[in-house]
Subunit: 167 residues, 2 copies
């Protein structure tokens, strides 16, 4: 199995320090390589490095207390002008997020996926804080930093989840 | 960038031949390593190798004409008993699909992600064909084969999709 897939875990503790711009670009490049329905590529990315902005996210996102200590965060959004079906936007953006998380492992960064869509309060908080226009849906926030913890890989393989040719 | 992320493309043309069971297991192992909201792992997988079943899918899925020629297909489903929020099920299953597609590249297989959720007719077709119980949502079908085409890698990086600290 791909080593990055095998070993990736959510990382919520970070050392001080900025994330080099070229590493952030690698994450964004990986995200944008994802497949999407009819190849619409309906994703948009808000890269957040200003401390004042990172600090405000826990005001409306209950599981984001690590974000003020993160080197950066990336808000992955869907653009309804590029894909009108929200169900596909969510899938396409999630594929982009997963690429981003795997690339973070490769770049020796720690990252964690924080759910935003479909929680109304979190979406509203993101829309207001980043002044998102009406056609943009905030889907997920990725908190990124230089890891201060290395969680052990976890084997999640469960044969009872596999069904052959029929339920 | 991870080579599998950089080079992965949808593959819709396959050579004859079965997919070895150990390769299918590698794909499923990769899928199950995905992150999920509260680590609920709400995914389930129907592995389809019977030709008679593969042949029937184009009856209700308009973009699946390659499936009868595939070595196998994997229907990725969400289990609403493990995660009650459909919005999260879709995200978790999509992360699993993306891992599966990247592992397919590593295993020298060709694969393509076919949208199922939220298209009512496709979901109904899958539910009936595979006798899915009420608590199972079919999310995506992955068609898999020994590749008979190698689409060129595509650079999808678009700087206009990146917004710094504000829209």
């Amino acid at each position: 199995m791909l080593n990055e897939i095998k070993t990736r875990r959510s990382v919520r503790k970070y050392r001080d320090g900025q994330i080099p711009a070229e590493k952030l670009e690698s994450l964004l490049r990986a995200a944008m390589q994802a497949p999407s329905a009819r190849n619409c590529q309906p994703w948009e990315f808000v890269v957040i490095t200003q401390r004042a902005l990172l600090n405000r996210i826990p005001e409306f996102h209950p599981y984001s207390k690590m974000v003020p200590n993160a080197g950066a965060a990336i808000l992955v959004c869907g653009n309804t002008r590029l894909q009108s079906e929200t169900g596909y936007i969510v899938q396409d953006c999630s594929a982009a997020v997963q690429n981003l998380l795997l690339e973070a492992v490769r770049q020796n960064l720690g990252a964690v996926w924080l759910g935003v869509y479909p929680r109304e309060e979190r979406m509203k908080g993101m829309i207001e804080l980043f002044d998102l226009p009406d056609h943009i849906i905030p889907v997920a926030l990725i908190s990124i930093g230089v890891p201060a913890e290395v969680p052990k890989p976890e084997d999640r393989f469960r044969t009872e989840k596999i069904h052959f040719d029929c339920w």
